[in-house]
């Protein structure tokens, strides 16, 4: 079942290095976080920049769009988390609780809360429905910088540079900590919510069972080079996708753990591919490469 991924588009974002690229919830738009302190909203299918959001004091590190696409939350090296109004492009709220640069930010599924992870080792939960500028809760378990945060309907998954992934189960009221042995740069849920894909700095992407914490698979071959690489699964939970220092997008088969494809852009680049985003419904990948955003998609619908 060979699938050929084809490069659909290469967008030059013109905002210095693109730190992160994120699909919106419905997959119609994408956000790019630039090192030039700007956040841009794109239609990636046409390659058109729709809006520029300026207001961060330093590089924008991550962004997340709300489920109704009316709001964007972004975070940056200026230690602030900013909630944007999509239409007007103005910041609705500026949350300045973190003591260090904020690496990652996510909405919850209802977009009523924002979870942000920072270099000050804290994960903060913000209630964006209220006007409070204080976090409603601080998760201070991490012993090092928080690299990624994911929110499912009842869980908060955080990865930290202290080599641990922490899953806060709100429903049960427990915290599950899994030690990964090396710095964790990214941890994300699979689509079925049963497994966790963990990118480690030792150049291994691990598939962990969420409930037992057992190792289900290891995906190697790509170059980590101490980069804060992101990883993900494809829409059907059949492929593992990860960025790499060689500027390619690596794709493994989930079951056989073999490399399926190494996707690259039109021309060879010296920049690494760091950030990865997968379309919520179709197999369409976005990845950053230096100042560019690349988009691949599958021609054939699989399964």
């Amino acid at each position: 079942m060979e699938i050929d991924y084809k490069l659909v588009r290469e967008i030059e974002c013109k905002q210095a290095a693109v730190r992160a690229v994120r699909f919106s919830v419905d997959g119609a738009y994408c956000l790019t976080c630039g090192a030039d302190r700007k956040l841009k909203l794109w239609n990636p299918y046409r390659g058109v920049c729709l809006k520029v959001y300026g207001g961060h004091g330093d590089e924008v590190m991550d962004a997340s769009a709300s489920c109704d696409s009316s709001q964007i939350v972004s975070c940056g090296l200026d230690k602030s988390v900013i909630l944007w109004d999509v239409a007007t492009g103005t910041p609705v709220r500026r949350l300045r609780g973190h003591a260090g640069p904020v690496n990652t930010v996510r909405f919850n599924e209802e977009s009523s809360m924002v979870v942000s992870g920072s270099r000050d080792n804290l994960v903060m939960l913000w209630d964006v429905k209220s006007k409070a500028l204080e976090p409603v809760q601080c998760l201070n378990d991490a012993k090092d910088s928080v690299s990624s945060v994911r929110v499912s309907d009842h869980e908060i998954l955080t990865a930290s540079f202290d080599g641990k992934i922490r899953r806060y189960d709100i429903r049960v009221g427990e915290l599950y900590t899994d030690y990964m042995g090396d710095v964790v740069t990214c941890a994300s849920f699979t689509r079925d919510g049963q497994c966790v894909v963990v990118s480690c700095a030792d150049g291994v992407v691990r598939l962990m069972d969420k409930d037992s914490g057992e190792l289900l698979g290891e995906f190697t071959g790509h170059m980590a080079n101490d980069l804060c690489l992101e990883s993900s699964v494809d829409t059907q939970d059949t492929r593992i996708i990860s960025g790499s220092a060689d500027g390619k997008l690596w794709i493994w088969d989930l079951v056989s753990q073999k490399v399926v494809a190494k996707l690259s852009g039109f021309k060879p680049t010296k920049h690494p591919t760091v950030s990865v985003s997968v379309h919520p419904q179709t197999n369409c990948f976005l990845a950053t490469n230096g100042p560019n955003v690349l988009m691949w998609s599958t021609a054939s619908g699989q399964e």
Partner: protein
């Protein structure tokens, strides 16, 4: 000097006293900056930026704050403006019109006054004045003759001076000529050579008049030429006129003459100056004339006019007026270049503190890749000759005795009796200090105790004091330890205060802040005490605690007793790392703790708050402050309240799980029970009623409590160990029981607030099943009530889950799980509520049950069996409802994530008809399990491979 000489002189006046040279007041000369110029009103005359400026402002000229205001002109038809004549005086100040001003005013002879002697009978004025009441010339005018000439002139005239002559001695002709020449030269210098030099007309006079002297010529005052043009000073513009017109001045600068329209024109003056925007000429004061300009292209004509050539040649000399060119040139100074550095020269700078000391031993500056490596603190200290490591050893002052003087004062004043007792306490305390060993201290204290009991009747108070003594003894030990730790010294200058502060720190650690008063010296007033207390509190905030919680979270203090088992921890971490290396992820690498999401978080996630009725998860984090041995001392004697409190602390410590401690644990537990007796009314009643019963019953009860207690706190105490201990514990228990009874009686009277930690209370209440609590919990979710029930049985729900499955209850499973559990033990629970005795049996039974379950789980650890059990029964209808409700949105997962919070997301499940349990199970297995199995197979194969590898390696 001889006397005769003295007599020769005549002295006038009183001689000054001889100056005593030693006592001459040496006045410092006034510095220039202190000297100010003041005007008549005593105002500073000069001020401004450089104090030399003359500021024309309020103070000096105008006299108003606003400065000079221009005059207004206003004229209308009705009121015509008067013609205003302005006088110079309008713009002057008072100073200007004063004697030494610009226009001095005073009585002077005016033109009206005519010297009658000179002018004779001309009296126009007087005629005009005929209208006066007294006709004729005024008498005053007759009397007063106006003086036209000043006194000086009159005097000069009397001396023979005539107007027009100069002043001075009379001169001969030659002398006069000489002076005249000199004067003229000076005038030339001042006015330039514009003025024509008039030759002395009397040059040709002979020497006949050698003897005749003449009066000197009058000095001609220097007259300024009024400036009537708009040129810059010293510049005269071009003046074009015909040669013949006007006065030909031979001595002026040569004019440039041009032929223009058959007319000869001579152009005078300078053509160009230095504009504002031009660069400076070499010499802007150089006199230029037209002759120096070229008016034609091509080769320069050498000579235009006779004059011009002459002037140019003169200018070539390039010599200032009044200077003469030297005849022989000066020798040029020879400049020697600095010596060249050798190529391999390396500049080295040795640091010296002073030039009298040898250079400081060179600290090797390590350089790496051209970058200077940072100096260490020691290196820097060496450079600076800092004695940072020679800190003064801190003197330990364990005795908190105030100064002798203050002691005496307070004694004499004898303000309160209380203070006296405190005094006594301190003395005793001192004595206690003197004792070296712990045992000696103890004996000393017991001795003290006896003494005080004998002296005063209030035994309760005495006990309290003794308590304080003990605190002193223990805290002082701690304090000395702290001193070695070198804690913060905010009051280093005031050693007494510093001592108090350190003591206060100890108190704070023990949570007895109000004890500060007891160590403050008696000489202090109430206000001082309060003030100091506040000060200390702030200081503690500053120094002791990390300023914010971020920092607090990052660091753990080394002295934290809960972290004493560092080695154990590190070994555990090593284990984990080993496991990771072996890729044995799972139970080894996982740890899970209770975590309580904020209620608002749950609300926003649409999830019911977990563990509402249960104990707070923070309990685990609490650390004991005393070791168990500390509490032992207090068990037998002293104070119920205190002992129980410490035991509470001890019981919260999770670190105590060793078998060796078990006896003591039992002890403490019995105390807790006593404590709860006093706290919970019903239970205390119970115990009172049971008090008359036999020992066996009590012991059974105790055991029962112990079992339940250990269940709650997750301590796995085997039954056998309990049995072995039971004999001993019963003995102690009965004794303790009686003692505590006594204590309760005594403390009931005082009946201060005895409730210690609220969490504790809650926990025990839940254990003892107070009806109010249960109703509360029942109002909540069914899950929670179940959880409470499980607690009642003696199990934390998490523990129950741990026994089966480490995974959290996933939605439905959780409920199913607990349901089945409750079904099993439902009868037990009901019985439990009826009598306590039966409850004992039940709990024991239940424990046995759990043990058997544990055995089961141990024998087959795979989850599948349990799962298969769990999936069996058809779910209750209400659960099915929620299931069907959520099943629909799960198919269109992204659109409505709101409902997903109820059930685990299963995006792959296409479950329109998903209402039946069995189908669900099938679906469940379809994706996830398959995958899991695959991976497990894979993993196992890997392991096989690994083992093969190992075999090969071996």
């Amino acid at each position: 000097m001889s006397d005769s000489e003295d007599e020769n002189y005549v002295t006038f006046g009183v001689p000054l006293e001889p100056i005593d040279e030693d006592n001459v007041p040496r006045k410092k000369p006034m510095t220039i900056e202190d000297q100010y110029a003041y005007d008549a009103q005593g105002r500073r005359r000069f001020h401004g930026a450089f104090t030399g400026g003359f500021s024309a402002g309020y103070f000096n000229t105008v006299g108003t704050r606003d400065g000079w205001r221009p005059q207004q002109f206003k004229s209308s038809r009705s009121s015509k403006a008067e013609s205003i004549t302005q006088r110079p005086e309008d713009f002057m100040d008072e100073e200007d019109t004063s004697e030494f001003g610009i226009a001095p005013t005073g009585i002077r002879a005016s033109e009206n006054y005519v010297n009658s002697g000179q002018r004779g009978t001309k009296r126009e004025r007087i005629i005009r004045d005929n209208n006066n009441p007294i006709p004729g010339t005024p008498v005053l005018k007759e009397l007063l003759k106006p003086v036209k000439e000043t006194v000086g002139i009159i005097l000069l005239k009397k001396m023979g001076w005539r107007p027009g002559q100069g002043v001075g001695s009379r001169l001969t002709k030659k002398q006069k000529a000489k002076v005249k020449k000199k004067n003229e030269r000076m005038k030339d210098m001042q006015q330039g050579s514009r003025e024509p030099n008039f030759e002395n007309s009397s040059e040709d006079s002979e020497d006949d008049y050698e003897n005749v002297t003449f009066a000197p010529d009058d000095y001609e005052p220097f007259r300024c030429n009024p400036k009537d043009n708009y040129f810059g000073i010293g510049y005269c513009g071009l003046d074009r006129r015909t040669i013949l017109s006007g006065h030909v001045n031979l001595f002026e600068t040569p004019a440039f003459s041009i032929r223009d329209k058959n007319k000869k024109l001579s152009i005078h003056g300078q053509a160009f100056g230095v504009g504002a925007f031009e660069a400076d000429d070499e010499d802007i004061y150089e006199k230029e004339d037209m002759s120096r300009y070229d008016f034609s292209l091509g080769p320069e004509r050498k000579t235009k006019t006779r004059w011009s050539e002459d002037s140019s040649s003169r200018n070539l000399n390039n010599c200032l007026e009044g200077f003469v060119l030297a005849k022989n040139k000066l020798k040029l100074k020879k400049v020697f270049p600095p010596p060249e550095l050798p190529k391999n020269f390396v500049p080295v700078h040795t640091i010296r503190k002073s030039r009298f000391y040898p250079p400081i031993e060179n600290v090797p500056r390590r350089t790496e890749n051209g970058k200077r490596k940072d100096l260490t603190a020691a290196d820097r200290a060496k450079i600076l000759e800092d004695t940072y490591n020679t800190k003064k050893p801190f003197e330990t002052h364990p005795n908190l005795v105030p100064s002798v003087a203050s002691n005496i004062i307070s004694k004499t004043l004898n303000l309160h009796g209380k203070q006296q007792t405190e005094e006594r306490q301190k003395e005793e305390n001192q004595r206690a200090k003197a004792a070296v060993s712990w045992m000696e201290k103890l004996t000393a204290q017991s001795f003290v105790k006896g003494g005080t009991v004998g002296s005063s009747k209030d035994s309760d108070g005495n006990l309290k004091k003794l308590e304080e003594f003990k605190d002193f003894s223990t805290t002082s030990d701690k304090q000395s330890k702290l001193c070695h730790d070198n804690i913060v010294k905010p009051y280093f200058s005031d050693s007494g205060k510093q001592r108090r502060f350190e003591q206060y720190l100890v108190f704070v650690k023990e949570g007895e802040k109000n004890k500060l008063e007891s160590i403050q010296p008696l000489s202090m007033t109430e206000w001082d005490r309060e003030h100091e207390r506040i000060e200390f509190e702030q200081a503690i905030k500053l120094f002791e605690q990390p300023t914010n919680e971020y920092v607090a979270n990052k660091f753990t203090s080394a002295s934290d007793p809960s972290r004493s088992d560092v080695s154990a921890q590190s070994s555990q971490e090593d284990e984990i790392k080993q496991a990771v290396k072996m890729k044995m992820f799972g139970k080894l690498t996982r740890e899970h703790v209770e975590w309580k999401p904020a209620s608002i978080v749950c609300k926003r996630f649409n999830i019911p708050e977990p563990k509402v009725g249960c104990a707070q998860p923070e309990m685990q984090k609490k650390s004991a402050k005393f070791s168990i041995f500390n509490s032992l001392d207090f068990n037998n004697s002293v104070k119920f309240l205190r002992a129980s409190k410490e035991i509470n602390d001890v019981s919260t410590s999770s670190s105590v799980s060793e078998n060796t401690d078990k006896n003591m644990l039992d002890n403490t537990e019995t105390h807790i029970i006593d404590n709860t007796d006093s706290n919970v009314k019903e239970m205390s009643d119970d115990i009172f009623s049971h008090n008359h019963e036999t020992i066996e019953l009590v012991s059974e009860k105790m055991r029962n409590f112990e079992v339940s207690y250990e269940k709650v706190f997750g301590k796995e105490v085997s039954e056998t160990s309990l049995k072995t201990d039971s004999n001993r514990t019963t003995n102690t228990e009965t004794m303790n029981q009686q003692e505590s009874q006594k204590n309760i009686n005594s403390t009931m009277k005082t009946s201060t607030s005895k409730s210690k930690s609220e969490e504790k209370k809650d926990l025990f209440k839940s254990i003892f099943l107070s009806s109010s609590e249960e109703s509360d919990s029942e109002s909540n979710e069914s899950l929670d009530s179940e959880a409470v029930k499980s607690v009642l049985i003696g199990k934390v729900p998490s523990e129950v889950n741990v026994n089966r499955n480490t995974s959290p209850p996933r939605g439905i499973f959780a409920k199913v799980d607990l349901d089945s559990l409750v079904n099993n033990t439902k009868s037990n629970v009901q019985l439990d509520e009826t009598t306590s005795k039966e409850k004992d049996v039940n709990t024991v039974n239940s424990e046995l049950e759990t043990e058997s379950q544990q055995d089961n789980s141990n024998s087959n650890p795979s989850e599948t069996q349990l799962l298969s059990n769990m999936y069996g029964p058809v779910l209750p209808s209400r659960l099915l409802k929620t299931e069907s409700k959520t099943a629909e949105p799960s198919s269109s997962q992204m659109l409505k994530p709101v409902f997903k919070s109820v059930v685990v997301p299963k995006p792959k499940v296409d479950s329109e008809t998903c209402g039946v349990w069995v189908e669900r199970e099938k679906v469940k297995k379809s994706k996830k399990e398959k995958k899991k199995h695959k991976h497990k197979e894979h993993k196992s194969s890997k392991h096989k491979r690994k083992s093969k590898k190992e075999k090969r390696a071996s």
